[in-house]
């Protein structure tokens, strides 16, 4: 089997695995819609008080809410994706088998996670967005090119998100129980990704810091591309740079970690 086909099969597996739970998915869509509704009204109140806050008009702010709800699961802001499983494999020692396989550990999990991301984008993203567009006057672009640019930014956001969570998972080599790190990771992601509030609304220096951090690639960057609030090329450049740095860091950490693995005979 060619290498490309192998990872494509892993990605398809990731997609199918999450597609199995239909009721749970429907329930998740409902939850995303409810939270989108609540947030949309609070954003309306905020932008009523300060029109053009953060460079968005009301329609753009409302669109931002629903983009956030659509991407929450896709880019795994709250975690709970592959990293829980990887940490468990590290803790139990099953990781030794994974390292023995003729496939790259990082690419293997990346492929699976991208498959999951695609499923979540289609299943948990499209419907809440449609409800949002039905209930509120959203500023959705009409040109297909903008949508294509948005999807590219979402893909890169999913890769950056994976790279961060891969690093988080690898800490289990040293800590054994990764629950604490995972919690810190998702709280940071919630705050810094723009899920809590658009990052361009954050005041002063704090705003500049969170916009420069890798988490901005998860929600803020794709949303800005969709809303036409940022130049796609500059957004991609930043996302690619973070993805490269973080994936490389993941590889370095992995090679440091695997030197620690001792397989007990038996």
């Amino acid at each position: 089997m060619g290498t490309g086909r192998l990872y494509a099969a892993v990605a398809a597996g990731g997609f199918r695995r999450y597609a199995t739970y239909r009721t749970a998915t429907a329930a998740g869509v409902f939850t995303n819609t409810v939270f989108g509704l609540i947030l949309a009204y609070t954003y309306l109140a905020l932008w009523h008080e300060r029109p053009h806050l953060g460079g968005y008009d009301k329609g753009q702010a409302l669109t931002y809410v629903w983009v956030g709800q659509a991407l929450l699961m896709t880019v795994s802001v709250m975690g709970g994706g592959f990293e829980d499983e990887l940490m468990e494999r590290i803790r139990t020692g099953d990781i030794a088998i994974d390292l023995y396989r003729p496939a790259d550990l990082q690419l293997w999990w990346l492929a699976g996670d991208l498959g999951r991301a695609l499923f979540h984008l289609l299943a948990r993203g499209v419907l809440p967005m449609a409800v949002g567009a039905f209930l509120f006057p959203l500023a959705l672009p009409s040109r297909p090119l903008v949508w294509a640019a948005f999807l590219a930014a979402v893909t890169l956001g999913a890769v950056v998100s994976f790279a961060i969570r891969f690093l988080v998972a690898l800490t289990a080599f040293w800590l054994m129980d990764g629950a604490g790190v995972a919690q810190i990771a998702w709280i940071t992601a919630m705050f810094c990704s723009g899920m809590l509030l658009p990052l361009n609304v954050f005041p002063g220096v704090l705003g500049e810091i969170v916009r420069a951090l890798p988490w901005a690639s998860l929600i803020q960057a794709p949303a800005d591309v969709l809303l036409g609030a940022a130049d796609p090329v500059a957004v991609y450049a930043r996302q690619l740079a973070w993805a490269a740095v973080l994936l490389a860091a993941g590889r370095m950490l992995q090679s440091a970690a695997t030197r620690r693995v001792v397989v007990q005979g038996g």
Binding site: I38, T42, M78, A182, M190, F191, L197, V201, P203
Partner: protein, 312 residues
């Protein structure tokens, strides 16, 4: 909204053992766990349920305390995670002075009441959203054969003392709000604050129980419950003026979330409620809470009676 991961080991195999257990004839028969044995009133059942709840919670607290450092860290994490909502409000107020016509201390008052009431309910019976998993994998059967009310067992299941973090965070915001808010306090208004917390907590408890009852039917749909519990809590953090009238009507007359904090809090703040209800409605939360608990109790019975084991 926060999905929590659970460490520790299942204690399913280990029934609650206690020498002070009542004699067998006073316990409900295991085959009909939701029915009391003849001659025993509701009072006896409630007392027995509370006792089982107390014993199981005590067990989980002991198990939590075996790893004290982990307990401190998860509690802190719980506190920080729940504080994010308030951080969002603070960030909003870094750019505006009023939101929906309300200033920061007033919104903090709404937030503090809603978050503390929800925190109390979450601490008490927050693990109930795990019921769907038990129905799915069949471990609910274990609870059915135990000599204690199932509701008490499910409510106390995996009791998480770390959820004190949420209560603490809500109480801190409420404390700030009480100090900063501009209200001429009357004895009535002072009495209304603890009353609101208590009845609000009970309304959220009723929501948890009703949500769990729903999971007998829709086993995988625990997230739907989250929309009403966590979602409701988020909604109530903001003043009703922010939301559309239909939504406010919905959470007043259909799903009575408005009684958790909006109605009593707006009376305390001296603000008009958007729906022109009579002023005495602000004092009805305890009645509404009682009605909610009764309704969710009925829903729970119906749910439990409809339970069919996976058989495996």
């Amino acid at each position: 909204m926060a999905e929590e991961t659970y460490g520790g080991v299942y204690a399913d195999a280990e029934p609650v053992r206690d020498r002070r257990r009542p004699p067998a004839h006073r316990r409900p028969s295991p085959a009909h766990p939701d029915r009391s044995s003849p001659g025993e009133g509701t009072y006896g059942r409630v007392r027995e349920g509370l006792r089982a709840y107390r014993l199981i919670t005590a067990m989980w607290i002991r198990s939590t305390m075996a790893y004290r450092a982990s307990f401190v860290m998860t509690t802190l994490g719980n506190l920080v995670a729940t504080a994010l909502d308030f951080v969002a409000i603070l960030l909003m107020f870094s750019r505006v002075d009023v939101l929906g016509g309300y200033r920061l201390p007033e919104i903090a008052f709404l937030y503090g009441l809603s978050a503390t009431a929800f925190g109390l309910a979450d601490l008490a019976i927050g693990s109930m959203d795990r019921l769907g998993r038990r129905v799915r994998d069949g471990t609910l059967d274990t609870l059915l054969v135990r000599p204690a009310p199932v509701l008490a067992q499910v409510a106390a299941d995996r009791f998480g003392l770390r959820r004190l973090g949420r209560v603490t965070q809500g109480a801190c915001v409420l404390g700030y709000a009480l100090a900063a808010v501009d209200v001429t306090w009357t004895p009535l208004k002072v009495a209304l604050v603890p009353l609101t917390l208590l009845s609000g907590g009970l309304i959220f408890c009723a929501l948890f129980v009703a949500g769990a009852a729903f999971q007998f039917v829709a086993q995988d749909a625990s997230e739907v419950q989250n929309s009403f519990t966590y979602g409701g809590q988020t909604l109530l953090q903001y003043p009703p003026t922010v939301f559309a009238k239909e939504l406010v009507r919905g959470v007043t007359f259909v799903l009575p979330l408005a009684f958790v904090n909006w109605l009593p809090a707006l009376y305390v703040l001296g603000r008009p409620y958007p729906l022109h209800l009579p002023a005495w409605v602000a004092f009805t939360p305890p009645l509404v809470a009682a009605a909610c608990c009764a309704a969710s109790g009925l829903a729970w019975r119906a749910g439990l009676r409809s339970y069919r084991s996976t058989g495996s």
